[in-house]
Amino acid sequence: MAAESGETTRRAELLDAAPRRGAGSRTESMVLNLGPSHPAMHGTLRVLVELDGETILHAIAEIGYLHRGFEKSVERGTYTKVIPFTDRLNYCSAILNNIGYVKAVEKMMGIEVTPRCAAIRVITGELSRVMDHLIAVGTNIVDIGALSNFWYLFNEREKIYNVIEDLCGARLTTCYTRIGGLAHDIHEGFVEGTRTLLKELPVAIREVERLVRGNKIFLDRTIGVGAIGAEEAISWGWTGPCLRATGLAHDLRKRDRYYGYGDYEWDVPVGENGDTYDRIFVRIYEMYESLRIVEQALDRLPDGPVNVDDPRVTLPPKGEVYENIEGLMNHFKIIMEGIQPPAGEVYDATEAANGELGFHVVSDGTGRPYKIKVRSPSLALFAAYPRLVKGKMIPDAIATVGSLNIVAGELDR
């Protein structure tokens, strides 16, 4: 005992005698840019962080690196010419944007789409949602080190893209809807192709689900990370999977029941803690639900036209354009003067992959939109990002940004 305590004293004396390393030094915080050009900052997001070690003291988000002036540009063309612009909002699920925009204009003009059109919009929209969630989950978990899942999910996404490419001729820039209907009906082989997807996708998604669910690293990196409560999420204007991850079953497809979403049997998955883990799993479960909807919609796909019989918006059949003057004039007026909604305003929203995608359209009665404002779900999500990462560590910030699935095209417009 005595020897031991003697040794302790000696060690203390030695320590006292040693020159103090770092005596008189001070700690300084470090200022670091996350992004805008970094793979972990998905696209073009920039966050300036002040760090104490690895802990974030303050975070300032700067957006606009992908601002292309969507709202200014669309004022120059006709209402139809807006549709390709909408492809470039959330480019991971372009068809959902196509649908959101034309639905707003249709509401303004009092147009109800045909049952076949509604069903095809549901099918293609839900496939797009699955693609979007595959990207969101895949890139989120690759950011936290799980590379193999990324390949598994992107393989599946590629299969959906093949079907979408057969349908529209493009993978991302689909431009598939038209005011009053669709660019064209589905092609021969679409139903079979989609049914094959319905068999293959759940297998792959389940595989990834099993890989991550019990993985300790994954759980450590996601549980409790970037958590937010429902009340605060509402105040930030959050919608979509990120709001549902806080436990609130808010989904416009259920609430507004547009396009017969109320007639299909499906559930709204919700989380509990509003953290990164919940956001990932809400998206995973939503993919299964989307596939359920697609299956039912394929089973009862109605026959009939995909475009409404309304000369204000639908181009006449080519036979009439070539053979009689009324058809020719009608075609000419829709193309040259454009579709003319009555003067007034409309706000309409759909449940896009990231949440409420709203279009506020102002018409002055001419063939060009007076104003179109996009209510982007990503903007509300990213506005809360500095608050989510303040006081947290850098790796948590990376896991969090992926789970919000900010798409810069939609964020910056």
């Binding site: 601002h67 004022e75 105040s235």
Partner: protein, 177 residues
């Protein structure tokens, strides 16, 4: 029978409501620009209305529409309990385009008001950090105004170091940052 949003607002804030109408199923309240914050607070806090969500803020430039005032500031609200939307509109003149900021009512108002300032030049009085959101810091003018020519390019190459923003955050002026 639940009362309509317009009725409820008129009952309490008759002097602040100029007109109400229904626009494709959405209740629209035209309000006195000086009372915007009062009306919005009422819509948020009244238990049977409970507009807990401010979805969007924007403006409309009525330059060629012959409106008495050039700009309309528009707020899109959503009530989860009613599953109902509302639109609050305040007309503001060109020479004095300002309304009170509602950043204290909804956290989403922060960026949405910044964007409306950036794009339309609407001033939100009391906003703690009314700087541009989408456009470059040195951008001149407000691009979504109808008299801003779409072809007018501006060459802006100086990156924003954001240190002024960080300084505000350090001083506690930006509590969420």
């Amino acid at each position: 029978m639940t009362r309509s949003i317009g009725e409820a607002a008129r009952a309490r804030l008759a002097d602040a409501i100029r007109a109400t109408r229904n626009e494709h199923g959405i209740e629209v309240l035209e309000v006195d620009p000086a009372r915007v914050a009062d009306v919005l607070r009422f819509l948020r806090d009244e238990p049977d209305l409970a507009f807990a969500m401010l979805l969007d803020v924007t403006a409309i430039d009525g330059l060629s529409l012959g409106w008495p005032e050039r700009f309309r500031v528009v707020y899109h609200l959503y009530s989860l309990s009613r599953n109902e939307r509302a639109k609050v509109v305040a007309s503001v003149p060109e020479e004095n385009p300002e309304v009170a900021s509602v950043h204290g009512l909804w956290k989403s108002a922060d960026w949405l008001e910044r964007e409306t300032w950036d794009q339309y030049g609407i001033v939100f009085i009391g906003h703690p950090n009314l700087v541009r959101l989408l456009n470059h810091k040195d951008f001149v003018g407000h691009p979504l105004r109808k008299d801003y020519d779409i072809k007018k390019g501006q060459w802006l190459s100086e990156p924003d170091d954001l240190m002024d923003q960080l300084e505000k955050a350090r001083n506690g002026l930006l509590p969420d940052n």
